[in-house]
Amino acid sequence: MSQQPTRGTWTKCPHCGGHVNQLEWGEYCQCPHCHQYLRLTAQQRLKITVDTNSFVPLEFQRKTNSQLQVPGYAEKLTENQQRTKLKEAVLAGQATINGVSLMIGVMDSHFMMGTLNTEVGRVIRVLYTTAKQRKLPLIMFIASGGARMQEGIFSLLQMNTILMAKREFDATKQVSISVLTDPTMGGVSASFAFKNDLVIAEKNAQIGFAGQRVIKATSADKLPANFQTAEDLLQHGLVDDVVAREHLRGYLATLLKLHQRG
């Protein structure tokens, strides 16, 4: 799930159980045995996606919601911040891919499963607004379990308010691209993730609205083995394409080139 191996160590592949040396994972964090991927941190994702040293993060003054008093939540946030070195479950900024400027947002499933809360929602709205102001295309790497329960209704209301910010971005006629990575679920899936102009899924990613546990509990449907995988969605016509991690950078560069405006 969330392996971040230290040098020279061995880890077990969460997909096939094979033992993999840290060096064998490579920059794409792909298992040499079963070729499945590990989930990337936002930093790892940026490293394999944008031109070296091109990423300039948007700066935010962190705010907290004093109306939320859920016991243990503040400690949980601190623990996640210390472990991931992130302020929240998303990184956002401007960068280039093959020299083409763009705004980019990268969610990180290692930070409270990439869940959408007040702060993550605000960053994504600012990302759309900044892309509009700078007249740049926008790429979002989605990795999220959905809305963050600890912020209740405030998390839920990110779904519609982000789409309101997106609507203004759309007036620029710049392209917006979602890359759905593992996992893309719930309130994130049913909001901006599927509303960008292009919706690309990374190979093997799990993507859906409802979780499989919930589906099994509330419906009699039999679930196929590849249910809610990127490939399953492609087969049902729900994503534009499925792309392997090692090909994504080149693929995105081509999409940006095809959507460049004079």
């Binding site: 004093s66 209740g152 209301l157 309101m164 509303k195 609205f209």
Partner: protein, 252 residues
């Protein structure tokens, strides 16, 4: 207690969207089907008159007894229901009709069928379309309404809640299952009509009891007449500002 409240709003005797629809509107004409997948029984949609004004109605059916609840999928709207709603909202936009939704649902349908036919996409489309609507829209929470599935019906200029209704990020059971801690975090989350009014999300809390239908009618008339004074751009702006204000309140 939350559990008592849930028991009450989920009981067979709870006021249904059909009862409210019949009382509030006249000349109701049902519009069926999403034109592609089918016709979701969980959602009744159509056009009717409220006083003398044509409005679009989106009513989620939960059902009173076990047989009805099975037929209506317990109010869990499927992908087909969201696509039907979307079709009705687009027509409302074209004819400049207000959209009024009646909400009583634990969440959106969770099934392989809905997943395979684009439940996420359908909810996202409806959320966006409701947000961009240049005619007034309004949501009335009769029982419970949770998750993005309910928000799609409640991305509106005005939200009216019956005093015992609930509106949360997910059903209390789902919240407790996802955040598995000793204390039930539902106790700390604003989800009741009064708590949501306090944060500025709910505009009107309707008293229940024998006069509940009259009270709903009065609330709708009051809110709709205010919205009828706004032009298209003002309606879009008001909706957007309302939600952003809720999110900014309390942050420091």
């Amino acid at each position: 207690m939350l559990s008592d409240q849930l028991k009450q709003i989920r009981s067979q005797n709870r006021i249904s969207s059909r009862t409210v629809l019949n009382y509030l509107f006249h000349d109701f004409v049902a519009i069926h089907g999403d034109r592609v997948l089918g016709d979701d029984a969980a959602l009744t949609g159509g056009v009717a008159l409220f006083n003398d004004q044509p409005v679009t109605v989106l009513a989620v059916n939960r059902g009173h007894n076990a047989v009805q609840r099975q037929h209506f999928n317990g109010g869990m709207v499927s992908v087909s229901g969201y696509c039907k709603a979307l079709r009705l909202i687009k027509a409302a936009q074209r004819f400049n009709r207000p959209v009024i939704s009646l909400i009583d649902m634990p969440g959106a349908d969770a099934s392989a069928y809905s997943e395979h036919h684009g439940q996420s996409q359908a909810i996202a489309e409806m959320l966006a379309e409701m947000g961009e609507l240049s005619s007034p829209n309004m949501a009335i929470f009769l029982g419970e309404g949770h998750s993005g599935g309910a928000l799609a019906f409640a991305n509106t200029n005005r939200i009216i809640m019956l005093e015992n209704a609930l509106f949360s990020v997910a059903s209390p059971e789902a919240v407790a299952a996802i955040v598995n801690t000793d204390t039930d975090i539902n106790e700390y989350l604003p989800m009741t009509a009064t708590a949501l009014k306090r944060i500025g999300l709910v505009d009107d809390v309707v008293r229940e009891g024998p006069k509940v239908l009259e009270n709903i009618e009065r609330a709708v008339a009051k809110q709709l007449s205010a919205l009828n004074q706004l032009n298209e751009q003002e309606l879009i702006n008001q909706r957007q500002k309302k939600y952003l204000k809720v999110l900014e309140a309390g942050r420091e």
